[in-house]
C-alpha cells in the first residue's frame, strides 16, 4: 500500500506516513525544500525554521481542497493524490526569501572567521534563496562565547535556534544538561549555570548544528574546511552504541578533525562517540576506507577531484610537463 504524491509535477509513490520533505528527497534534485531544523535521525525535530514551507495545491484525492496556508513540508504527511508546489510556486519562493532574511536578521555574518564556513547550511541557504542585501539596520544580538564541556564551544550569537542539539541531547545521551533559556529573540541555548556537557555522545551536537554555533574546540581556527581533505575511515570502537565509521579531515599528514559521515543533506549517517571524535587523531588509529565523495556543488570539493583530470594538452611538450606537475600537486594531499 503506497500513496501517490506529485511534487512540482513529478509524481512518486511513497510509504503512507512519509512527510512531504522526505518524499521530495526520494525524488531528489532541485525540488527538495531546504531544511534548517529538520533532521531525519532525530524524532520530533522540524517545523521551527519554516524554510521548508511548501504550497499544497490539492489536499488529497478524497478532499481536493488546497491547504489555506503554506505548510512546513518536514512535518506534513503526504496524502494519496496530494499535489505540492515548491519551486514552481512564486508564493513559496517569496515566503522562503522572507524566512531567510529573518534568519539572517540576528546572524552576525562573520563567515570569514567562522569554522563552519564552507559546510554551513545557512550559508548555502542564503546563497540560494536569500536577498543580496539586508534591510535590517539595527544592532544584532550578541552573546559571550561559553564552553560547554572541554571540547565544545557554544557561540550563541550565530545560533538560529533550530533545537537540533536539544533533541540530540534528549535522544542520544542519558542526561541533557543544556536547553533553551528565555523566550523570543532573547532565547538562548545554554547550560544551567555553565554546567559542563559531559557524556559519550555530546560531540554530536557539533555535527547536527547547521551553523557555527557549536564548534569543536580541537578544530577551532585550525583550518578552513575546503583546504582539508575528507577521507573515510573506521575503527573498532568499544563503545556499544558507536560503530566507529567516521570521516577524517586531513591536512597533509595530519588529521585535523574527525566527524561522522554526512550525506548530501548534511545529515550524519550514524552518530559517533566522543572517543572517536576527539581522542583518535592519528592515522594509525584508523583503517582508511578511501576518499570521501563530496558533491561537486560543495565548496569543500573545490580543491579536490576524485577523478583524474584528462590530459587536455596533447601536442605541446612544455605544457604537458606543466600539466603533470599540476596533477601531482593536486593529488599530493
Amino acid at each position: 500500500m503506497s500513496v501517490k504524491v506529485t511534487i512540482d509535477g513529478i509524481a512518486i509513490e511513497v510509504e503512507p506516513g512519509t512527510s512531504i520533505l522526505n518524499a521530495a528527497r526520494q525524488i531528489g534534485g532541485d525540488i527538495v525544500p531546504p531544511a534548517m531544523c529538520y533532521y531525519s535521525k532525530l524524532k520530533d525535530s522540524g517545523g521551527k525554521c519554516r524554510t521548508c514551507l511548501v504550497k499544497v495545491s490539492k489536499g488529497s484525492e478524497k478532499d481536493p481542497r488546497p491547504m489555506p496556508k503554506l505548510v512546513a513540508s518536514c512535518r506534513t504527511t503526504v496524502m494519496d493524490g496530494m499535489e505540492v508546489q515548491n519551486i514552481t510556486s512564486p508564493e513559496v519562493i517569496e515566503a522562503r526569501k522572507g524566512i531567510v532574511e529573518m534568519l539572517l536578521v540576528n546572524h552576525p555574518l562573520d563567515c570569514p572567521i567562522c569554522d563552519q564556513a564552507g559546510e554551513c547550511h545557512l550559508q548555502d541557504l542564503g546563497f540560494e534563496h536569500g536577498a543580496v542585501k539586508t534591510r535590517y539596520e539595527f544592532d544584532r544580538r550578541t552573546f559571550e562565547k561559553i564552553d560547554i564541556g572541554d571540547k565544545i564551544q557554544l557561540h550563541m550569537t550565530r545560533c538560529i535556534l533550530c533545537y537540533r542539539c536539544v533533541f540530540v541531547a534528549n535522544q542520544l545521551t542519558e542526561h541533557r544538561y543544556h536547553g533553551i533559556l528565555n523566550r523570543g529573540d532573547h532565547s538562548e541555548i545554554s547550560t544551567y549555570i555553565q554546567h559542563a556537557v559531559d557524556n559519550d555522545f555530546s560531540g554530536n551536537v557539533i555535527d547536527v548544528c547547521p551553523v557555527g554555533a557549536l564548534t569543536d574546540k580541537t578544530f577551532r581556527f585550525k583550518n578552513r574546511v575546503w583546504f582539508t581533505k575528507p577521507v573515510e575511515a573506521h575503527r573498532e570502537c568499544d563503545h556499544k552504541d558507536c560503530n566507529g565509521k567516521v570521516t577524517l579531515w586531513y591536512k597533509g599528514e595530519e588529521v585535523l578533525r574527525v566527524t561522522a559521515r554526512k550525506d548530501e543533506y548534511g545529515e550524519v549517517e550514524e552518530f559517533i562517540c566522543n572517543t572517536c571524535r576527539f581522542d583518535k587523531k592519528k592515522t594509525s588509529d584508523w583503517v582508511i576506507d578511501g576518499p570521501r565523495h563530496v558533491s561537486h556543488k560543495s565548496v569543500i570539493s573545490s580543491n579536490h577531484y576524485d577523478f583524474i583530470p584528462l590530459p587536455v594538452v596533447k601536442s605541446n611538450p612544455v605544457l604537458i610537463e606543466a600539466n603533470k606537475e599540476q596533477f601531482e600537486r593536486e593529488t599530493r594531499l
Binding site: A95, R135, L161
Partner: protein, 453 residues
C-alpha cells in the same frame, strides 16, 4: 435593557460564596445535566445553541466538543483556558473574581458532557488572587458534593484542579497551554495532531475559554434553542466585552450579540461615549491582535451599513475595511492618541511574548518593534512603512501558531488606515515628538460606495 445571562447576579452581595450562589439558582445546570440528560444530549444542546468560542477564534464550541476522539480506555480532559493576557481584555478575570462558581458550574457540566474525569483550569500566573478565589470555590463545591466521587448520586466522578501558569501570553495558545500544563516549556505544538485527538498527556483534550464554559450554564438551564434566539445570525447569545481606553465608563459589559456598535460606544447604558468630550479617532474592537479601525470605518461598514457587535458584522469587509470580534477587548482611542505610538506599544508586547520557536515570529516581531520605535522617536524614513508592511506579510501565515498573525495584523492595519499619520511622523519628525497628529480625517463620513452597474 437586554437580559443578562452570565452577569445576572453579579451585584448580589456574597455571590462569590457557594451558599449565596446556590440560593440564586446556581448549580441548577449540574443537577439538570447529571440527573436528566446523557452526555451526548448536553453536547447536542450546546451545538443547538450555536455558541462560538469566546477566546478569540470564534470556533463553534459544540462542534469542537463533537470532534473529541473517544477511544476506549483512554482518559479525556477538559482544560479551561484562563490565561487571559491579551492587551485590552479583562472579562475572564472579572468573571473569575466576582462569580467564580459560574465557572466551576460550567466546568462540571462541560466535563460531564465530554466524559472527563479530571479537569484543569489553567490560570495565568499573575492572577494570584483569582487562583485563591477559584481554589476556595472548588473547596466549597466539593463540600457540597458537586465535585469528587459520585456527584449527586449519579455515579459521575470529577476532580477539578487549578493550575497557575508562569505568566506567558503564548500559553494562551491551546497547545502551548497543554505543554505548560504538562510541566514543559510553553512552546506551541505543531498541528496536526489537534488536541481533540492527542492533547494533554497524549489524550484527547478540549480547551475552552472561561467565558465559553460559563456560557454552558445558561444554555443547559434554558435550552440551546432558547439561547440561540438571542443574538443575530450565526452570532448567538451574549458576549462579555471589556471596554477600555478613552471611554467614559470603562468596564465589563454583557451585550447581546448584534448590538449596534454606535449604541455600545455612545449609549449611557454601556460605554457612555468618549471621555472629556473628545472625539473618537480609532477603535481596536477585540483585543490588541485584531486590526485597528478608524472611527468612520468602525461605526459604518464600507457599504454604509451600521456596524454591529457580532462576529460577522465586525469582520465585514475582510481585512481591508473590517476587523474581528476577537476576545472582546474593546479599546477606544480619542483624538489625542498617537496611532504610531500605540502600534509600537502593541508590537513591543508581541516582541516580548514571542516564544522564539519559529524564526519569522522570533526575528520579525523584534524587527518591527525596532522600526516602529525609530518612527515614533522621529528617526523614521519614508520607506519604513513599506518595510513594515512587507515584514508583517512575511510573518503572517508562516508561523506555527497564531501569535505571528496576531503580531502582524495590528501593524499592517495601522499602516493601511493611518498611513498619513505615519508619514507625518517622518516628515515632521521634531513636531511628532511634542504633539499628536490629531483626528485628521479619520472620523469623516465614508464616501458613497460606487454603484456597480
Amino acid at each position: 435593557m437586554a437580559r443578562k445571562l452570565l452577569l445576572e447576579h453579579i451585584n448580589v452581595p456574597g455571590i462569590n460564596t457557594f451558599d449565596v450562589y446556590r440560593s440564586k439558582g446556581g448549580y441548577a445546570s449540574v443537577e439538570k445535566a447529571l440527573k436528566t440528560m446523557s452526555p451526548d444530549e448536553v453536547v447536542e444542546e450546546v451545538k443547538k445553541s450555536g455558541l462560538r468560542g469566546r477566546g478569540g477564534a470564534g470556533f463553534p464550541t459544540g462542534m469542537k466538543w463533537s470532534f473529541l476522539a473517544k477511544p476506549e480506555g483512554v482518559a479525556r480532559y477538559l482544560v479551561c483556558n484562563a490565561d487571559e493576557s491579551e492587551p485590552g481584555t479583562f472579562k475572564d478575570r472579572y468573571l473569575m473574581t466576582y462569580i467564580p462558581h459560574l465557572l466551576i458550574e460550567g466546568m462540571i457540566t462541560a466535563s460531564y458532557a465530554l466524559g472527563a474525569k479530571v479537569s484543569y483550569i489553567y490560570v495565568r500566573g499573575e492572577m494570584m488572587p483569582q487562583i485563591r478565589i477559584l481554589e476556595k470555590a472548588i473547596a466549597e463545591a466539593k463540600n457540597a458534593g458537586f465535585l469528587g466521587k459520585n456527584i449527586l448520586g449519579s455515579g459521575y466522578d470529577l476532580e477539578l484542579y487549578v493550575q497557575p501558569g508562569g505568566g506567558a501570553y503564548i500559553c494562551g495558545e491551546e497547545t502551548a497551554l497543554l505543554e505548560s500544563l504538562e510541566g514543559k516549556r510553553g512552546n506551541p505544538r505543531i498541528k496536526p495532531p489537534f488536541p481533540a485527538i492527542a492533547g494533554l498527556y497524549g489524550c484527547p483534550t478540549v480547551v475552552n475559554n472561561v467565558e465559553s464554559i460559563a456560557a454552558v450554564v445558561p444554555i443547559i438551564n434554558e435550552g440551546g434553542e432558547e439561547y440561540a434566539k438571542i443574538g443575530i445570525g450565526r452570532s448567538t447569545g451574549t458576549k462579555l466585552i471589556s471596554a477600555g481606553g478613552n471611554v467614559k465608563n470603562p468596564g465589563v459589559y454583557e451585550i447581546d450579540l448584534g448590538l449596534p456598535a454606535e449604541e455600545f460606544l455612545y449609549s449611557d447604558e454601556y460605554c457612555g461615549g468618549i471621555a472629556n468630550g473628545k472625539r473618537l479617532k480609532a477603535v481596536v474592537a477585540g483585543g490588541s491582535s485584531v486590526p485597528i479601525l478608524p472611527a468612520n470605518l468602525f461605526l459604518k461598514t464600507i457599504n454604509n451599513q451600521p456596524r454591529l457587535m457580532s462576529y460577522e458584522s465586525l469582520s465585514d469587509g475582510g481585512f481591508a475595511t473590517g476587523t474581528m470580534m476577537g476576545s472582546g477587548g474593546f479599546i477606544a482611542f480619542d483624538e489625542d492618541q498617537c496611532i504610531v505610538r500605540n502600534t509600537w506599544n502593541f508590537t513591543r508586547f508581541y516582541h516580548h511574548e514571542s516564544c522564539g520557536q519559529c524564526s519569522p515570529c522570533r526575528e520579525g516581531t523584534g524587527w518591527m518593534e525596532k522600526v516602529l520605535h525609530r518612527l515614533e522617536y522621529g528617526h523614521g524614513k519614508m520607506s519604513d512603512m513599506d518595510l513594515l508592511v512587507d515584514v508583517s506579510k512575511k510573518i503572517e501565515g508562516n508561523t506555527i501558531c497564531p501569535l505571528g498573525d496576531a503580531a502582524a495584523w495590528p501593524v499592517a492595519s495601522a499602516i493601511r488606515h493611518f498611513r498619513d499619520e505615519f508619514e507625518w511622523h517622518v516628515t515632521n519628525a521634531s513636531e511628532a515628538v511634542t504633539r499628536n497628529f490629531g483626528l485628521a480625517h479619520y472620523a469623516d463620513p465614508l464616501p458613497k460606495p460606487e454603484v456597480v452597474a
